[in-house]
């Protein structure tokens, strides 16, 4: 009845399927290796697209530039915000980096809704790619786009005389925090996309989410200035921990309030949970 029983063609995929039947630990290792490889393949799609058409990235450079140049310059002069030992522009630069990452990530699922309206998502879901890899690949894609923002914000900050920390380990830390932050918010975007399912509604939701996430955080002012209820909200906001980590890693003489360990943990756990949720929701996009 079946192909196997009837002795019909056994080809190389049968060997691939056999590998699945090995012992538990080998299987686990293979599953993880497969997850990583496939995540990178999905990310490769994004990188190739960016290489074909980088205009989007350049357009996205405008917003952080305006924030740093206009908002930053004015508020540095007003000296209205108590930023401790840091000048306001030093305080602001990591916040603006986190903001650009947030903006890139929160709208990242729009392209996924577009791919769903075509048949692209269908074809990816019909392939043997683990769902978690499809989702993580999209998260890492947003991370890659965000790394371009890092370069732009560093460049503008340098020109504005921000006291940047160029220690290689600190730079590596910035890269990791940006990748984690982008993952958190692009997965949030993906989750919302799976629920609202149209581009128009996702645009609206993106606008709706950006403002509270940005203003209920320590991005442009210290949390200590906020009323108590808003402080409580800000402490639940992953962006707060991203900015906190960036402030200690990016700025010479900057320091973390919550500790880098907690910052990494909050972002890491958020990203992991969101991945699990999104991996379950993603196949619903094509129903």
């Amino acid at each position: 009845m079946t192909l196997q029983e009837s002795g019909a063609p056994q080809r190389d995929w049968d060997k691939r399927n056999e590998s699945v039947t090995r012992s538990g630990s080998v299987r686990g290792m293979r599953a993880i290796a497969n997850l990583i490889t496939k995540t990178l393949v999905i990310t490769e799609v994004e990188v190739r697209k960016l290489l074909h058409d980088p205009t989007d990235l350049l357009l996205r450079a405008v917003q952080p530039a305006l924030w740093l140049l206009i908002f930053g310059q004015v508020f540095t002069r007003i000296r209205a915000i108590p930023t401790g030992s840091l000048s306001y522009i030093d305080f602001l630069a990591p916040g603006i980096l986190a903001q650009s990452v947030l903006f890139v990530a929160i709208f990242s699922a729009i392209s996924i809704v577009w791919e769903r309206d075509l048949g692209i998502v269908h074809k990816f879901l019909a392939s043997p790619t683990p769902r978690a890899a499809l989702v993580l690949g999209k998260a890492l894609s947003a991370g890659v786009r965000s790394l371009v923002q890092v370069v732009i914000v560093y460049l503008i900050s340098f020109l504005l005389g921000v006291q940047l920390n160029f220690n290689p380990l600190a730079l590596l830390g910035v890269v990791l925090i940006v990748l984690l932050g982008a993952a958190c918010f692009s997965l949030l975007s993906l989750m919302v996309a799976c629920l609202v399912r149209t581009r128009e509604r996702l645009m609206g939701m993106g606008q709706l989410m950006t403002m509270p996430l940005f203003f209920a955080s320590n991005a442009i002012y210290p949390i200590a200035m906020m009323p108590n209820w808003l402080q409580a909200v800000s402490h639940l906001n992953p962006l707060t921990y991203q900015v906190d980590a960036l402030r200690s890693l990016m700025i010479a003489g900057g320091s973390s309030i919550y500790g880098l360990g907690l910052d990494f943990m909050v972002l890491g756990i958020t990203a992991t949970l969101m991945t699990l949720v999104c991996a379950r929701l993603y196949p619903r996009l094509v129903l």
Binding site: A8, P9, D12, H52, D53, G119, K123, F124, A126, P128
Partner: protein
């Protein structure tokens, strides 16, 4: 395509024995069904598709063809029944099933912002084609589809027919024994359409692939399919070879219902089993999807 060329390609790409006379069943569904809330999209589907045949799932829009294909490609979990594909259980062994099937969705599924080569490269990697044979496999697929000259152009510059060919190439890169094509020629002009037909016949001949396609073009079904099943309102109303179905209608017309003397076409069979075509035109989302695809491909 010349015969020698084909034999050559067959050795490179495929080492499958020739068609057997008693062909095994490669797709088997038992009472497979899917309902959305109160609406039954597919009702108790029983299909047996033999290895190496081109099987057509016909029916008006909204008959449940796409839902059936989505279930068989593991995109949509069935709400009742079971199915096996190439010996693997659709529900319990979905990952293995995914390795066994190729899928060309109805809507445009090649990425317009990548080149043809890149579209193939990504799927070759997702289907674990070994790194050393990656380039060769892609080059062969491009040649088979006649796309080698356009391989480094962005897909958004392709014509509708080229895009369909690329999509079919993507779906067979991993040499699956079964390929599902959902309305493969919708929105194509007559020339591109017959080119896709030739392609499918070649896939069947050269690689012994089993092809299950949905269509509502009876001419397509008649010239391509070894067997067809006509679906209406989620149920298969009749299954058979196009010739047998036409014959049965011819003999039936002798007993009363007249076809005005002409021999029955598959169109007549279709209308006979599904009733008035105008009433079963599919819903708004079906229509908008088909038109959108048509626009993009055209």
């Amino acid at each position: 395509m010349g015969v020698t060329e084909q034999t050559n390609r067959q050795q490179n790409w495929e080492d499958q024995p020739p068609l057997q006379s008693d062909r095994p069943i490669i797709i088997q569904t038992q009472m497979l069904g899917r309902s959305f809330d109160q609406v039954i999209a597919v009702d108790a589907l029983n299909l047996s598709v033999e290895a190496g045949e081109i099987f057509g799932l016909l029916g008006p829009n909204g008959a449940g063809k796409s839902t059936a294909i989505k279930m068989l490609t593991t995109l949509l979990p069935p709400t009742s029944g079971r199915a096996t594909i190439a010996g693997f259980d659709l529900i319990r062994q979905s990952t293995q099933v995914r390795r066994m099937v190729g899928y060309v969705p109805q809507a445009l599924s090649a990425d317009g912002t990548l080149t043809g080569y890149e579209n193939l490269l990504i799927f070759a990697k997702l289907y674990d084609i070994p790194r050393r044979s990656l380039k060769l496999r892609i080059t062969e697929a491009l040649e088979f589809m006649g796309l080698q000259d356009a391989s480094h152009r962005l897909v958004r510059t392709y014509s509708g027919g080229m895009i369909r060919r690329l999509e079919i190439a993507q779906s067979i890169l991993h040499q699956p024994p079964v390929v599902f094509l959902d309305e493969p020629t919708v929105g194509l002009d007559p020339i591109a359409r017959s080119a896709v037909w030739d392609l499918m016949l070649e896939l069947k001949k050269a690689y012994s692939m089993t092809i299950l396609l949905t269509t509502h073009f009876m001419e397509e079904a008649d010239s391509l399919c070894d067997r067809v099943a006509i679906m209406d309102h989620g149920r298969v109303v009749v299954t058979g070879t196009p010739a047998a179905l036409k014959d049965s209608l011819n003999s039936e017309s002798l007993n009363g219902k007249s076809l005005n003397g002409a021999a029955a076409t598959l169109d007549d069979v279709f209308i006979h089993y599904t009733g008035n075509l105008l009433e079963a035109g599919g819903n708004f989302s079906d229509t908008s999807r088909v038109r959108r695809t048509t626009k993009r491909l055209g």
